[in-house]
Symmetry: C2
Subunit: 191 residues, 2 copies
DNA sequence: TGAAATTATGGTCAGCTGACCATCTTTAGC
DNA sequence: GCTAAAGATGGTCAGCTGACCATAATTTCA
């Protein structure tokens, strides 16, 4: 039904039965470039898996500046976790950076799957742990690193994003201005 | 055995049997002011509950500047999550800001409790969700807020910390210099 | 393919921020 | 209670950073 997703799940040691059960409840959807999956103010009602393409979770501040909380490339998950968990309006938007294909589960269906498929529960816990570890790292970097160190860490951590994202989005993710990012890159060229 | 902790657990609807089972495996410990519970480089081997006092999780960067990831007041939990989960050396230290009393569980004991006490598992999941929501908020603020907005948000979110913490620690938590924090406070006095 | 939009870079400048140092106040701990 | 340490504030200054504007290159999509 959703072959790429099923391959992804099987790699994580889920049984064929579990894979089928999960996959059967997913609904596929395509997003055009710049199309929004979730707008700030709406309630996030779906768990989302990215089959192909690239999404980003962002917020536009009062002055109109964009700030990016997360990128979600193929074979990753995304949603606004607070809005999804509590079913309250989201503070952020989720949109497609590239044309993308995604799978969506209704919250009630996914909750049911988590309750009935222990392997999925275990798998989800692993994702959550990774998420927590990475958030900690990001907070520590935002506290301690210079703009140049932030950029260096970014291209080390996500080597392929440099070619897929406009620089202004990298700046919006790092919390520095595009001008500062350009200056860093210019300085690095001199070396 | 540990009355304050047991009261805390009971408030979260854990059965008396569960409370007893969890409490029985805890070992109490006292920390003097500035005493370290975990030093960077060590492996975090315990789950820790703060009965009284105040701990902080921090990192000292190359230049000698302190950066604070988290405060843990009475009735909260703390540990270095990545070091604990993977049993690898920690990048951060945990120390007592105030003289404190804590409870410690060995990782293997707590893992056993999580497996055998479903109510505890559920409870822990709630804590994890709160942690994730707050981390997201903190990342968004670090990306988008001015130093003054960060300070305002801090005293809104943690009203009582202002009286318990030296300002330099608040600055170290917000990722701004003590000088900038002083300037903000000075400016606010003028109004 | 071609026109419009987006993107990247550079110049300039104001001003915020942090580093360093000194002073005064408060707190800790014996 | 007393002494030493820690903390908070202020002055000064260099320089990093972002805002604004212009230009050139690239990409999108009709």
């Amino acid at each position: 039904m959703h072959p790429e997703f099923e391959t992804y799940l099987r790699r994580s040691d889920l049984s064929e039965e579990a894979v089928r059960k999960i996959s059967d409840l997913a609904v596929a959807r395509k997003l055009r470039r710049n199309e929004l999956l979730l707008s700030a103010g709406e309630i996030c009602r779906h768990k989302v898996f990215v089959v192909s393409g690239l999404l980003h979770t962002f917020n536009i501040s009062a002055g109109g500046t964009q700030h990016i909380l997360q990128f979600a490339p193929e074979n990753s998950w995304t949603l606004d976790v607070e809005s999804y968990d509590r079913q309250i309006p989201s503070q952020v938007s989720i949109g497609a950076v590239e044309p993308s294909t995604i799978l969506c589960w209704q919250k009630k269906d996914f909750d049911m799957l988590l309750a009935e498929v222990p392997q999925l529960k275990k798998f989800a816990e692993g994702l959550i742990a990774r998420n927590i570890h990475y958030s900690r790292k990001r907070i520590l970097i935002s506290l301690s690193a210079t703009p140049e160190e932030k950029y260096e860490d970014f291209i080390q951590t996500f080597p392929d994003y440099l070619a897929r994202l406009p620089l202004r989005m990298i700046a919006a993710y790092l919390g520095i201005s595009i001008k500062t990012l350009t200056r860093i890159r210019h300085a690095q060229l001199q070396r």
